[in-house]
Protein backbone atom coordinates (compact mmCIF):
# COMPACT_ATOMS: atom_id res chain seq x y z
CA UNK A 1 0.00 0.00 0.00
CA UNK A 2 2.70 2.46 0.91
CA UNK A 3 4.67 1.56 -2.19
CA UNK A 4 1.82 2.48 -4.49
CA UNK A 5 0.89 5.73 -2.84
CA UNK A 6 4.43 6.82 -2.18
CA UNK A 7 5.40 6.31 -5.80
CA UNK A 8 2.49 8.40 -7.01
CA UNK A 9 3.33 10.96 -4.36
CA UNK A 10 6.73 11.21 -5.99
CA UNK A 11 5.04 11.80 -9.34
CA UNK A 12 2.85 14.50 -7.82
CA UNK A 13 5.82 16.21 -6.20
CA UNK A 14 7.65 16.22 -9.53
CA UNK A 15 4.62 17.74 -11.22
CA UNK A 16 4.45 20.40 -8.51
CA UNK A 17 8.14 21.21 -8.88
CA UNK A 18 7.70 21.60 -12.63
CA UNK A 19 4.77 23.92 -12.16
CA UNK A 20 6.64 25.85 -9.51
CA UNK A 21 9.69 26.36 -11.73
CA UNK A 22 7.66 27.67 -14.65
CA UNK A 23 5.31 29.86 -12.71
CA UNK A 24 8.13 31.04 -10.48
CA UNK A 25 10.15 32.17 -13.45
CA UNK A 26 7.21 34.01 -14.96
CA UNK A 27 6.32 35.55 -11.60
CA UNK A 28 9.84 36.82 -11.03
CA UNK A 29 9.80 38.23 -14.54
CA UNK A 30 6.54 40.03 -13.87
CA UNK A 31 7.78 41.48 -10.62
CA UNK A 32 11.10 42.67 -11.97
CA UNK A 33 10.17 44.11 -15.34
CA UNK A 34 8.93 47.66 -15.91
CA UNK A 35 5.25 47.92 -16.77
CA UNK A 36 4.36 51.05 -18.68
CA UNK A 37 1.86 50.14 -21.40
CA UNK A 38 0.86 52.54 -24.11
CA UNK A 39 -1.81 51.91 -26.73
CA UNK A 40 0.77 51.50 -29.49
CA UNK A 41 2.72 48.94 -27.48
CA UNK A 42 -0.38 46.80 -26.94
CA UNK A 43 -1.18 46.42 -30.66
CA UNK A 44 -0.88 42.93 -32.18
CA UNK A 45 2.34 42.51 -34.10
CA UNK A 46 1.89 41.90 -37.82
CA UNK A 47 5.32 42.11 -39.41
CA UNK A 48 5.55 45.83 -38.72
CA UNK A 49 2.41 46.70 -40.66
CA UNK A 50 -0.67 48.06 -38.92
CA UNK A 51 -2.97 45.15 -38.07
CA UNK A 52 -6.47 45.12 -39.55
CA UNK A 53 -9.52 43.07 -38.63
CA UNK A 54 -9.92 40.64 -35.73
CA UNK A 55 -7.62 37.85 -34.91
CA UNK A 56 -8.68 34.64 -36.56
CA UNK A 57 -7.10 31.27 -37.12
CA UNK A 58 -7.14 29.55 -40.46
CA UNK A 59 -7.45 25.84 -40.10
CA UNK A 60 -8.47 23.09 -42.40
CA UNK A 61 -10.60 20.05 -41.97
CA UNK A 62 -7.76 17.62 -42.42
CA UNK A 63 -6.33 18.54 -39.01
CA UNK A 64 -9.62 17.48 -37.51
CA UNK A 65 -9.65 14.22 -39.45
CA UNK A 66 -6.17 13.32 -38.24
CA UNK A 67 -7.14 14.08 -34.66
CA UNK A 68 -10.22 11.92 -35.08
CA UNK A 69 -8.16 9.05 -36.41
CA UNK A 70 -5.94 9.45 -33.37
CA UNK A 71 -8.91 9.21 -30.99
CA UNK A 72 -10.13 5.96 -32.48
CA UNK A 73 -6.70 4.38 -32.49
CA UNK A 74 -5.97 5.59 -28.97
CA UNK A 75 -9.07 3.71 -27.83
CA UNK A 76 -7.72 0.77 -29.80
CA UNK A 77 -4.40 1.06 -27.95
CA UNK A 78 -6.18 1.26 -24.63
CA UNK A 79 -7.46 -2.24 -25.25
CA UNK A 80 -4.07 -3.42 -26.41
CA UNK A 81 -2.30 -2.57 -23.14
CA UNK A 82 -4.18 -4.94 -20.84
CA UNK A 83 -4.29 -7.61 -23.53
CA UNK A 84 -0.53 -7.47 -23.91
CA UNK A 85 0.01 -8.22 -20.24
CA UNK A 86 -2.11 -11.34 -20.15
CA UNK A 87 -2.36 -13.06 -23.51
CA UNK A 88 0.67 -15.24 -22.86
CA UNK A 89 -0.47 -16.21 -19.37
CA UNK A 90 -1.67 -19.78 -18.79
CA UNK A 91 -5.39 -20.14 -19.36
CA UNK A 92 -5.59 -17.70 -22.25
CA UNK A 93 -4.74 -19.59 -25.39
CA UNK A 94 -4.78 -18.86 -29.06
CA UNK A 95 -8.40 -17.77 -28.71
CA UNK A 96 -7.40 -14.59 -26.90
CA UNK A 97 -4.75 -13.86 -29.52
CA UNK A 98 -7.22 -14.34 -32.34
CA UNK A 99 -9.87 -12.23 -30.63
CA UNK A 100 -7.53 -9.28 -30.41
CA UNK A 101 -6.43 -9.73 -34.00
CA UNK A 102 -10.07 -9.72 -35.12
CA UNK A 103 -10.56 -6.47 -33.19
CA UNK A 104 -7.48 -4.92 -34.78
CA UNK A 105 -8.34 -6.13 -38.27
CA UNK A 106 -11.78 -4.60 -38.14
CA UNK A 107 -10.48 -1.23 -37.09
CA UNK A 108 -7.63 -1.45 -39.58
CA UNK A 109 -10.32 -1.43 -42.27
CA UNK A 110 -10.81 2.18 -41.22
CA UNK A 111 -7.21 3.06 -42.03
CA UNK A 112 -7.55 1.29 -45.36
CA UNK A 113 -10.67 3.30 -46.09
CA UNK A 114 -9.00 6.57 -45.10
CA UNK A 115 -5.99 5.79 -47.28
CA UNK A 116 -7.98 4.87 -50.35
CA UNK A 117 -10.33 7.83 -50.08
CA UNK A 118 -7.25 10.09 -50.06
CA UNK A 119 -8.05 11.42 -46.62
CA UNK A 120 -4.48 10.73 -45.48
CA UNK A 121 -2.75 12.85 -48.09
CA UNK A 122 -1.37 16.02 -46.64
CA UNK A 123 -1.78 18.22 -49.68
Amino acid sequence: MNGYFSSYLTVAVLLAIGLAVVSGALLVNRLLRPHRPTPEKLLTYECGVDPVGEGWAQSQVRYYVFTYLYVVFAVDAVFLFPWATIFAAPGFGVATLVEMFVFLAFIALGILYAWRKRVLTWT
Partner: protein, 224 residues
Protein backbone atom coordinates in the same frame (compact mmCIF):
# COMPACT_ATOMS: atom_id res chain seq x y z
CA UNK B 1 -17.49 -4.84 -0.40
CA UNK B 2 -18.90 -3.43 2.79
CA UNK B 3 -16.29 -3.82 5.45
CA UNK B 4 -16.14 -2.20 8.83
CA UNK B 5 -17.18 1.45 8.64
CA UNK B 6 -14.28 3.60 9.76
CA UNK B 7 -14.64 6.89 11.62
CA UNK B 8 -14.90 10.01 9.56
CA UNK B 9 -12.49 11.92 11.82
CA UNK B 10 -9.51 12.08 11.59
CA UNK B 11 -9.59 11.68 7.78
CA UNK B 12 -6.87 9.56 6.23
CA UNK B 13 -4.43 11.08 3.78
CA UNK B 14 -6.17 9.46 0.83
CA UNK B 15 -9.51 10.94 1.83
CA UNK B 16 -8.03 14.43 2.13
CA UNK B 17 -6.33 14.19 -1.26
CA UNK B 18 -9.51 12.82 -2.85
CA UNK B 19 -11.54 15.66 -1.37
CA UNK B 20 -9.11 18.27 -2.65
CA UNK B 21 -9.11 16.70 -6.11
CA UNK B 22 -12.90 16.73 -6.05
CA UNK B 23 -12.92 20.42 -5.23
CA UNK B 24 -10.51 21.10 -8.10
CA UNK B 25 -12.64 19.05 -10.48
CA UNK B 26 -15.83 20.84 -9.43
CA UNK B 27 -14.27 24.27 -9.64
CA UNK B 28 -12.72 23.76 -13.03
CA UNK B 29 -15.98 22.27 -14.32
CA UNK B 30 -17.83 25.39 -13.20
CA UNK B 31 -15.24 27.51 -14.94
CA UNK B 32 -15.67 25.51 -18.13
CA UNK B 33 -19.32 26.44 -18.36
CA UNK B 34 -19.10 30.02 -17.15
CA UNK B 35 -15.99 31.40 -18.79
CA UNK B 36 -16.44 33.80 -21.68
CA UNK B 37 -13.34 32.77 -23.55
CA UNK B 38 -13.99 29.66 -25.59
CA UNK B 39 -10.42 28.38 -25.72
CA UNK B 40 -10.06 28.84 -21.96
CA UNK B 41 -13.06 26.58 -21.51
CA UNK B 42 -11.22 23.76 -23.29
CA UNK B 43 -8.17 24.34 -21.12
CA UNK B 44 -10.16 24.30 -17.89
CA UNK B 45 -11.58 21.01 -19.14
CA UNK B 46 -8.03 19.66 -19.16
CA UNK B 47 -7.72 20.57 -15.48
CA UNK B 48 -11.04 18.89 -14.74
CA UNK B 49 -10.04 15.68 -16.49
CA UNK B 50 -6.65 15.75 -14.80
CA UNK B 51 -8.30 16.06 -11.39
CA UNK B 52 -10.58 13.12 -12.24
CA UNK B 53 -7.54 11.08 -13.25
CA UNK B 54 -5.94 11.94 -9.94
CA UNK B 55 -9.10 10.81 -8.20
CA UNK B 56 -8.93 7.46 -9.98
CA UNK B 57 -5.30 7.12 -8.90
CA UNK B 58 -6.19 7.70 -5.27
CA UNK B 59 -8.84 4.98 -5.57
CA UNK B 60 -6.10 2.60 -6.84
CA UNK B 61 -7.68 2.39 -10.31
CA UNK B 62 -4.36 2.96 -12.03
CA UNK B 63 -5.20 1.83 -15.51
CA UNK B 64 -8.41 3.82 -15.68
CA UNK B 65 -6.48 6.92 -14.57
CA UNK B 66 -3.98 6.62 -17.37
CA UNK B 67 -6.71 5.82 -19.88
CA UNK B 68 -8.42 9.01 -18.72
CA UNK B 69 -5.28 11.01 -19.36
CA UNK B 70 -4.52 9.33 -22.68
CA UNK B 71 -7.99 9.45 -24.18
CA UNK B 72 -9.74 12.38 -22.57
CA UNK B 73 -6.94 14.84 -22.10
CA UNK B 74 -4.83 13.61 -24.97
CA UNK B 75 -7.42 13.04 -27.65
CA UNK B 76 -10.77 14.49 -26.77
CA UNK B 77 -9.62 17.91 -25.62
CA UNK B 78 -7.49 18.15 -28.76
CA UNK B 79 -10.58 17.29 -30.80
CA UNK B 80 -12.48 20.00 -28.97
CA UNK B 81 -9.78 22.55 -29.64
CA UNK B 82 -9.67 21.67 -33.33
CA UNK B 83 -13.44 21.87 -33.44
CA UNK B 84 -13.33 25.34 -31.89
CA UNK B 85 -10.67 26.44 -34.33
CA UNK B 86 -12.60 25.15 -37.31
CA UNK B 87 -15.86 26.81 -36.41
CA UNK B 88 -15.24 30.03 -34.52
CA UNK B 89 -11.57 30.50 -33.73
CA UNK B 90 -12.16 33.38 -31.39
CA UNK B 91 -9.37 35.13 -29.57
CA UNK B 92 -10.41 36.93 -26.44
CA UNK B 93 -13.89 37.11 -25.07
CA UNK B 94 -16.81 36.03 -27.20
CA UNK B 95 -20.15 37.68 -26.92
CA UNK B 96 -23.33 35.69 -27.28
CA UNK B 97 -22.17 32.50 -25.64
CA UNK B 98 -25.04 32.67 -23.18
CA UNK B 99 -28.39 31.31 -24.21
CA UNK B 100 -30.17 33.50 -21.69
CA UNK B 101 -31.26 30.57 -19.56
CA UNK B 102 -28.77 30.99 -16.76
CA UNK B 103 -31.27 30.86 -13.92
CA UNK B 104 -33.15 27.85 -15.28
CA UNK B 105 -29.94 26.01 -16.05
CA UNK B 106 -28.52 26.69 -12.61
CA UNK B 107 -31.73 25.55 -10.94
CA UNK B 108 -31.90 22.34 -12.94
CA UNK B 109 -28.23 21.64 -12.34
CA UNK B 110 -28.42 22.21 -8.60
CA UNK B 111 -31.59 20.13 -8.38
CA UNK B 112 -30.09 17.24 -10.33
CA UNK B 113 -26.91 17.37 -8.29
CA UNK B 114 -28.88 17.38 -5.04
CA UNK B 115 -30.91 14.35 -6.08
CA UNK B 116 -27.90 12.38 -7.27
CA UNK B 117 -25.75 13.22 -4.26
CA UNK B 118 -28.57 12.32 -1.88
CA UNK B 119 -29.14 9.03 -3.66
CA UNK B 120 -25.50 8.04 -3.65
CA UNK B 121 -24.92 9.06 -0.05
CA UNK B 122 -28.06 7.34 1.17
CA UNK B 123 -27.57 4.21 -0.84
CA UNK B 124 -23.89 3.71 -0.18
CA UNK B 125 -23.38 5.33 3.22
CA UNK B 126 -22.07 2.15 4.78
CA UNK B 127 -20.25 0.72 1.79
CA UNK B 128 -16.57 1.07 2.57
CA UNK B 129 -13.75 -0.77 0.86
CA UNK B 130 -10.10 -0.87 1.82
CA UNK B 131 -7.85 0.66 -0.81
CA UNK B 132 -5.58 -2.12 -1.94
CA UNK B 133 -3.34 -1.29 -4.88
CA UNK B 134 -3.16 -3.86 -7.64
CA UNK B 135 -6.88 -4.24 -8.21
CA UNK B 136 -6.87 -1.66 -10.93
CA UNK B 137 -3.76 -2.69 -12.78
CA UNK B 138 -3.73 -3.45 -16.50
CA UNK B 139 -3.23 -7.18 -15.99
CA UNK B 140 -6.31 -7.54 -13.80
CA UNK B 141 -8.47 -5.62 -16.25
CA UNK B 142 -7.14 -7.57 -19.19
CA UNK B 143 -7.87 -10.87 -17.51
CA UNK B 144 -11.38 -9.69 -16.75
CA UNK B 145 -12.07 -8.52 -20.30
CA UNK B 146 -10.80 -11.64 -22.01
CA UNK B 147 -12.37 -13.97 -19.52
CA UNK B 148 -15.86 -12.53 -19.21
CA UNK B 149 -16.45 -9.62 -21.55
CA UNK B 150 -15.33 -10.75 -25.00
CA UNK B 151 -18.67 -10.09 -26.68
CA UNK B 152 -18.92 -6.37 -25.85
CA UNK B 153 -15.23 -6.08 -26.71
CA UNK B 154 -15.76 -7.41 -30.23
CA UNK B 155 -18.94 -5.38 -30.64
CA UNK B 156 -16.85 -2.33 -29.75
CA UNK B 157 -14.65 -2.93 -32.76
CA UNK B 158 -17.67 -2.60 -35.03
CA UNK B 159 -18.77 0.49 -33.11
CA UNK B 160 -15.35 2.13 -33.39
CA UNK B 161 -15.15 1.42 -37.10
CA UNK B 162 -18.66 2.79 -37.65
CA UNK B 163 -17.72 5.94 -35.71
CA UNK B 164 -14.55 6.34 -37.75
CA UNK B 165 -16.21 5.87 -41.13
CA UNK B 166 -19.13 8.10 -40.14
CA UNK B 167 -16.87 10.94 -39.05
CA UNK B 168 -14.65 10.68 -42.10
CA UNK B 169 -17.47 10.57 -44.59
CA UNK B 170 -19.13 13.59 -43.00
CA UNK B 171 -15.94 15.63 -43.24
CA UNK B 172 -14.74 14.53 -46.63
CA UNK B 173 -14.24 17.51 -48.87
CA UNK B 174 -14.28 15.75 -52.20
CA UNK B 175 -18.04 15.26 -52.05
CA UNK B 176 -19.38 18.32 -53.79
CA UNK B 177 -22.98 19.51 -53.71
CA UNK B 178 -24.98 18.49 -56.75
CA UNK B 179 -25.50 22.03 -57.93
CA UNK B 180 -23.11 24.43 -56.19
CA UNK B 181 -24.97 27.54 -57.31
CA UNK B 182 -28.48 26.59 -56.35
CA UNK B 183 -28.17 23.99 -53.66
CA UNK B 184 -30.66 23.67 -50.83
CA UNK B 185 -30.70 26.48 -48.33
CA UNK B 186 -29.97 26.30 -44.70
CA UNK B 187 -26.68 26.85 -42.93
CA UNK B 188 -23.51 26.01 -44.74
CA UNK B 189 -21.96 22.63 -44.11
CA UNK B 190 -19.91 22.61 -40.96
CA UNK B 191 -16.69 21.99 -42.81
CA UNK B 192 -16.23 25.45 -44.23
CA UNK B 193 -13.96 27.51 -41.99
CA UNK B 194 -14.90 30.99 -40.84
CA UNK B 195 -14.34 33.78 -43.26
CA UNK B 196 -12.44 36.79 -42.08
CA UNK B 197 -14.73 39.74 -41.38
CA UNK B 198 -15.77 41.31 -44.63
CA UNK B 199 -14.76 44.95 -44.18
CA UNK B 200 -11.16 43.89 -43.65
CA UNK B 201 -8.93 44.11 -46.70
CA UNK B 202 -7.05 40.88 -47.32
CA UNK B 203 -3.99 40.21 -45.21
CA UNK B 204 -0.59 41.15 -46.47
CA UNK B 205 0.28 38.00 -48.38
CA UNK B 206 -2.69 38.38 -50.69
CA UNK B 207 -4.13 34.93 -50.19
CA UNK B 208 -7.07 36.35 -48.26
CA UNK B 209 -9.31 36.30 -51.29
CA UNK B 210 -8.95 32.58 -51.59
CA UNK B 211 -8.87 31.96 -47.85
CA UNK B 212 -12.52 31.05 -47.95
CA UNK B 213 -11.95 28.21 -50.35
CA UNK B 214 -8.70 26.87 -48.97
CA UNK B 215 -10.56 25.54 -46.00
CA UNK B 216 -12.53 23.26 -48.28
CA UNK B 217 -9.48 21.15 -48.71
CA UNK B 218 -7.99 22.38 -51.90
CA UNK B 219 -4.94 23.43 -50.09
CA UNK B 220 -3.02 26.55 -50.98
CA UNK B 221 0.68 25.87 -51.05
CA UNK B 222 1.51 28.72 -48.76
CA UNK B 223 -1.51 28.80 -46.52
CA UNK B 224 -1.24 25.16 -45.43
Amino acid sequence: MTSQVPDLWPPSAQEVVFLLLGVVALGSALLVVTTRQLVHAALWLVVCFGALAGGYLVLTAEFVAWVQVLIYVGAIVVLLLFGIMLTRAPIGRSAGLDSGNRVTAATVAVGTAAVLVTVVVQGFATAYTPLEPGGGAAATLGASIFRSWVLPFEALSVLLLAALIGAIVLSRTDIRPANPAADAGGPAAPTTPPHPPDPAPPPADGSGATAGETGSGRVSRDGG
